[in-house]
């Protein structure tokens, strides 16, 4: 891995400076009303798309902020990044 990620604060930086935070998703607001398999779906199942994916990144070696990015899981090209 050697691709570049444009951090919203710090600009183009090497991917090694970042921590991957996983696919963007949302935590259910009503955990108590979900059955076990619905909860397991939230905790374990990922879309794992082939193509553009919206995901969280954290700039560990820089501004130490979380931000969102769209990245192609095929080419690793990061299309855009923005603050949540």
């Amino acid at each position: 891995m050697s691709y570049l990620i444009p951090c919203p604060h710090c600009g183009q930086r090497d991917v090694g400076e970042f921590r991957f935070g996983g696919e963007k998703g949302s935590r259910p607001t009503n955990p108590d009303q979900l059955n076990a398999s619905q909860w397991a779906h939230y905790t374990y199942d990922r879309k794992n798309v082939m193509g553009m994916q919206t995901e969280w990144w954290y700039h560990r070696g820089g501004c130490r902020q979380w931000f969102l990015a769209t990245r192609s899981t095929i080419t690793n090209i990061v299309e855009k990044t923005w603050l949540p």
């Binding site: 891995m1 050697s2 691709y3 570049l4 090497d14 991917v15 921590r19 935070g21 935590r27 955990p31 108590d32 979900l34 076990a36 909860w39 939230y42 905790t43 374990y44 969280w56 954290y58 560990r60 130490r64 902020q65 979380w66 931000f67 080419t75 690793n76 949540p84």
Partner: protein
């Protein structure tokens, strides 16, 4: 073989500067600028190695660092290609893979058993009877193979360098030089990477009277004069990675170059073709011959036959004549030889027989070529046999498109040029010159400039579209030059016909493999091992594809080519790892531990004192008097804001709203699968101000965890990682209050400052945060102070404790003291599937909170029932089982030991272990298998020491 009497003006060798090195115990004279190979050849050494499988003699072949023939051990480094290795004075060079020498190799006996080694023999032979395999394997491993790492030579240190450039040009030949100049003139910063020690590529080792030679000298002058071109020679670009990052190895340095654009102008890879005994020493590629003549002034033979397929081959023949070598014949695979060329005129004037539509059919000789049989390309007609000691093969090459292929491009086979051309290039990638299928002398330069300008488009202020268009039209006006013959395989001839010289794979082996069903190019490669040796197909790819296409009645395009992956050349692991750095952090009191001769160990990133004397003495001080331990490594996070309770209630399984100001609480964090991942204390310093401590190694993760739950929300909390801003110590033991009392005016009375209380105040004049916590099971005060007071604080506390015989204690004693209290260590006693209910933390889980991270999953775990539990144990006979050993029941593993120590104070061996919940009762016996011995232990479900906690609360 010998030195030319007068070296050509193009030579790299300075004959007035002699050097000496050792080859197999023999003294070899060389000159400055020589490669090991050129010096050996000048000294008459022509058998450089023995082949991989059959131990056939092999000599100088490609001369460009690609083929496997010249690999030797140089100063302890195995598999060095000596054709590209410059001689240093005193170098020690040894042969490889031959006993006792390449000239006389006992292992050549394997040739007699070639019937045992058909294609894919390792899938077929030597497997039965089964018990014989280890015997065969031992022999095969010894006989087959390359260099050996002796284990004695000290490892080299590789340095790492990071560079940036607008445009990186790979290849310093004519097109690369033009590309670099073009891009530099357009305003780009350029880095030029060249594998050879010199610039100019194949023009540079042509005859010094040739127009190409003069052109590259002029180009080199211009390139060297440009301040915005950085030139790296002796540097190989081995990989083109994402984000246009090039991996380059230059001697003992790995350079990573981050480029905006990449121009690949890496020329062609010349290779042999398939005919009988095509591996004999004395058979060389045209470029190897030109290098020997024009760069090193070495005469590669006395009587040569040249087989070519293009006009460059004629130049090689002419160069041989210039150097005084007799050329017995010039055979060309083409139907017509262009009479108007200067080289042809020269050949004719010297009476050299020119044989069109002719190719080599087989070669003869034992240790060196003695004659060659030439025959018609079509296969029908008369063969002629000519005596010679040098056979030159100049039949084109493959465009080196490996790097752009790594970058996503595909090679498309062009029928009329008989070569793969890179298309669908990745973003910012360009190909130029020979590697772009442009072989006309003028076009190579024009194409280089075109690629250089195109690469720099948009980087500078000037638009070069007009010039690029002009260059393109001039390029299309120039005639297309074809280098390659239609076929890479000669018609039938006697002798072994090698396709792959690295792995000793013959045409017959390839055909056999295809008949056995491995007819796809990728499966054929894996089964026959063709192209899987050190050259990775550089010498054999086209031959193998050609044979596969012929045998399966497909076109080359249909047959396809194998995938090209990094690295382009073999590189050592040392070059990839670079120099090893082990950064570490020291605590603010570090110098004091050093002065006390503490045994310091590395824990995570930190250097921490493990012990000062021994655990027995240190723990006695804590239990009976007072001890002092540095806890500076604890993670510290400061949280302030109106929503701080909301955040804490979300991330901790405990409740925080009911914590009073001036109190602290032990907290546990889980993730949403209900797994425990960190613990620590969290104190309420003010109404909206909390101070959190985390595990030493967990602080970065916890900080990221907290901020991740705040990202995108409107929570009003300011989270600050203040770990390095503070140092900390814990004063523990029955006399701790008296020690601290001497240093502060704070009221330490248990009513004012009770167990689990916290205050902010001055200690020895330093503003501190104090917690009264049962860190090690005795009365204890954790004092956090600004880190720059570290040494001062240590000194004043040690001084104040002198009258109580205070002792510093290290992490080993701390481990024992905490184990006595059954305190768990997250990550040591828990793992990636531990929920808090199993780890005796059920009391901390506040299900009455509406929601927190992990609640739903822990609730589910509770519903399903707890099946395993973390319990304490005491071994009956005092053994200390190894951590990680199994708890056994009826011959099955039912749990494991996570912590175990001998407690000097209790005079017992105690520990923590996972056991089935049914066993988690006081007095239950458990059986532990440790170091091959059975250990019986009894379960203890309460702290081993002071179970009521009276000592720390008192």
């Amino acid at each position: 073989m010998s030195r030319l009497s007068t070296p050509p003006s193009s030579t790299l060798v300075n004959r007035s500067k002699p050097l000496v090195f050792e080859y197999n115990g023999r003294r070899i004279d060389a000159c400055e600028g020589d490669t090991v190979a050129s010096a050996l050849m000048a000294s008459g050494v022509d058998i450089l190695s023995r082949s991989f499988k059959y131990h056939r003699p092999r000599g100088h072949l490609c001369g460009e660092g690609h083929c496997p023939n010249c690999m030797m051990n140089v100063d302890g480094s195995p598999n060095v290609r000596i054709c590209s290795e410059k001689v240093c004075n005193g170098m020690v060079v040894k042969h490889q893979n031959a006993i006792p020498s390449p000239e006389f190799d006992l292992l050549a006996i394997t040739q007699k058993f070639d019937f045992l080694m058909p294609a894919g023999f390792y899938y077929k032979i030597f497997h039965k009877p089964r018990f014989m395999w280890p015997v065969f394997e031992h022999f095969i491993r010894k006989v087959a193979g390359l260099g050996v790492v002796d284990g004695k030579t000290p490892p080299y240190r590789y340095e790492r360098q990071h560079l940036r450039a607008d445009v990186v040009v790979v290849g310093g030949g004519p097109s690369g030089l033009s590309a670099a100049l073009g891009a530099a003139e357009a305003g780009a910063s350029v880095t030029l990477v060249e594998q050879d020690s010199f610039l100019g590529g194949h023009f540079r080792f042509q005859n010094p009277e040739s127009s190409g030679f003069k052109k590259v000298l002029e180009l080199e002058k211009q390139v060297r004069a440009k301040s915005n071109i950085r030139v790296l020679t002796g540097a190989v670009a081995f990989g083109l990675y994402e984000g246009n990052m090039l991996g380059v190895v230059q001697g003992r340095r790995t350079v990573r170059i981050r480029a905006k654009r990449v121009v690949v102008a890496s020329g062609i890879l010349e290779r042999p073709f398939v005919f009988g005994n095509n591996d004999l020493p004395g058979i060389m590629l045209g470029r190897a011959v030109q290098r020997l003549l024009n760069l090193y002034g070495v005469q590669p033979g006395k009587r040569a036959v040249v087989v070519g397929s293009n006009d460059r081959a004629l130049d090689v023949a002419a160069d041989l004549l210039h150097a005084g070598v007799e050329v017995a014949a010039y055979a060309d695979q083409r139907e017509r030889i262009n009479d108007s060329l200067e080289s042809v005129k020269l050949l004719k004037s010297k009476g050299v027989a020119l044989l069109p539509a002719t190719t080599a059919v087989s070669a003869d000789g034992k240790m060196h070529i003695r004659s060659v049989t030439l025959g018609p390309v079509a296969g029908r007609g008369e063969n002629i046999r000519l005596d010679c000691d040098l056979l030159v093969l100049s039949v084109g090459g493959d465009p080196a498109i490996h790097l752009v292929q790594q970058g996503g491009a595909r090679g498309f086979f062009e029928e009329h040029r008989v070569e793969f051309i890179a298309k669908r290039l990745g973003e910012g990638h360009f190909v130029a010159g020979d590697s772009n299928g442009v072989h006309h002398e003028d076009s190579i330069l024009l194409d280089g400039r075109r690629a250089g300008l195109a690469a720099a488009q948009g980087l500078g202020s000037v638009d070069h579209a007009a010039e690029i268009a002009d260059l393109e039209s001039r390029l299309s006006a120039n005639p297309a030059v074809v280098l390659n013959p239609k076929t890479m395989v000669a018609p039938d001839g006697s002798g072994k016909r090698f396709v792959c010289v690295c792995e000793d794979v013959t045409e017959k082996d390839v055909c056999d493999a295809i008949r056995e069903g491995f007819d796809g190019i990728e499966t054929l490669k894996r089964y026959s091992t063709v192209s899987m040796g050190p050259c990775q197909g550089k010498m054999c790819q086209m031959s193998a594809i050609g044979i596969c296409a012929r045998e399966t009645n497909r076109t080359i395009e249909e047959t396809g080519s194998t995938v090209s992956r990094p690295p382009f050349i073999p590189i050592t692991l040392g070059a990839l790892t670079g120099r090893n750095y082990h950064p570490h952090k020291t605590v603010p009191t570090h110098s004091r531990h050093a002065a006390l001769n503490a045994k310091v160990i590395s824990l995570g990133d930190w250097l921490r004192p493990e012990m000062y004397s021994n655990p027995a003495e240190e723990s006695r001080a804590v239990h009976e008097r007072v001890g002092l331990i540095d806890v500076s490594t604890l993670g510290r996070i400061d949280l302030r804001g109106t929503d701080v309770v909301k955040l804490l209630d979300k991330v901790y399984i405990n409740s925080w709203g009911n914590l009073k100001v001036g109190r602290t609480r032990y907290g546990v964090m889980c993730d949403d699968t209900g797994i425990v991942f960190d613990d620590g204390t969290c104190a309420r310093l003010g109404d909206q101000h909390y101070f959190m401590t985390t595990t030493t190694s967990g602080v970065d993760g916890v900080y990221q965890w907290l901020t991740s739950w705040m990202a995108g929300t409107s929570l009003d909390v300011c989270v600050t990682n203040v770990t390095s801003g503070y140092g900390g110590v814990n004063i523990a033991g029955p006399r701790a209050k008296e020690v601290l009392g001497k240093l502060t005016s704070l009221n330490l009375d248990s009513k004012e400052f009770p167990y689990m209380g916290c205050v902010q105040g001055q200690v020895a004049g330093v503003p501190c945060i104090l917690f009264r916590i049962g860190f090690v099971g005795e009365l204890g005060y954790e004092v956090h102070f600004p880190s720059f007071y570290g040494e001062y604080m240590w000194d004043v506390i040690m001084d104040a404790g002198k009258e109580f015989d205070i002792r510093p204690f290290g992490v080993e004693t701390q481990r024992i003291l905490r184990l006595q209290k059954s305190h768990i260590i997250i990550g040591q006693d828990t793992d990636a599937i531990t929920n808090p209910l199993e780890a005796n933390l059920a009391w901390a889980v506040k299900f009455d909170k509406p929601d927190f991270i992990g609640r739903r999953a822990i609730f589910e775990a509770k519903k399903q029932g707890i099946k395993k539990s973390l319990v304490g144990f005491v071994t009956r006979h005092g053994e200390v089982p190894e951590e990680g050993t199994q708890v056994m029941e009826n011959g099955y593993s039912v749990g494991r030991v996570t912590s175990a120590r001998f407690s000097p104070h209790l005079n017992k061996s105690i520990g923590l272990a996972w056991v089935p919940t049914a066993r988690a009762k006081d007095g239950q016996p458990i059986l532990i298998r440790s170091k091959g011995e059975w250990v019986i232990a009894d379960v203890v479900t309460h702290p081993f020491y002071d179970p009521e906690g009276a000592r720390m609360k008192g």
